[in-house]
């Protein structure tokens, strides 16, 4: 079981580092179509920031901020964003995930619509990967019993 670590250095460094990890993850997701990275890597880094707090503090502390229900909802929401953008393209008469036709409903040109469509996909993938990573770690570290994870 992961119990609360009472080392002040570990706690304050993790507290100090978490915003920078989140910022870097958002950078990776937002620049996924210009540079290396993308939804999957950014989502992994987002999940890693939660896992860092779980290791440095304890699971109950993190679950107060991100509950099990919210985690499950986020998993679904990410997939919904991904599939929703695909189906919007389908409804507009193009192929699944053919972002070019999004220009009909967005006030931008075809090329910009493709970039925005890819960006939306990256956001969906990032949210799902983050929620799934947190959920896997929660299940592993607490032995499947989420309520018992904080007890030593």
């Amino acid at each position: 079981m992961i119990k609360q670590c009472d080392n002040v250095i570990v706690q304050s460094v993790s507290r100090f580092l978490t915003p920078f990890i989140l910022l870097f993850a958002l950078y990776v997701i937002a620049h996924g179509h210009y540079s290396p990275g993308g939804g999957f890597q950014g989502g992994c880094i987002l999940g890693a920031s939660f896992i860092l707090s779980m290791i440095a503090y304890d699971i109950a502390e993190v679950k107060r901020r991100m509950t099990e229900k919210m985690n499950t909802v986020l998993t679904g929401v990410g997939v919904l964003i991904y599939a929703g953008i695909g189906f919007i393209c389908l409804l507009l008469g193009a192929n699944y995930l053919d972002y070019g036709v999004l220009a009909e409903i967005l006030p931008v040109g075809t090329a910009k619509a493709r970039a925005l469509g890819t960006f939306g996909i990256e956001i969906g993938v990032g949210i799902t990967v983050m929620a799934v990573m947190v959920s896997i770690f929660l299940n592993l570290a607490s032995g499947g019993e989420h309520e018992e994870g904080s007890v030593e």
Binding site: M1, I2, V28, P36, G37, G38, F40, Q41, C44, I45, G47, A48, I51, I55, M133, I136, F137, L140, A141, G143
Partner: protein, 81 residues
Amino acid sequence: MIWQLDFIILIMVVICAVAAINVKDLLSSAIILGAYSFLMCLLWTGMGAVDVAFTEAAVGAGISTAFFIGAIFQTTRRTND
């Protein structure tokens, strides 16, 4: 990439892979596997596959090491075989 550097990294990859299997302490094994992932990440970068290297660094060296450590909390630290 400079072939001497490539060669040194490849040797270290093999050493890390063999050590991760043979070491008796599970926590050390997880950390050595993280080092293996990081060396593989350096190799991918040298080959110009930056996206693969990024994935290897984020997933192999970052998340999966945390998963292994979380799993080791559930069991004993030393192997029996």
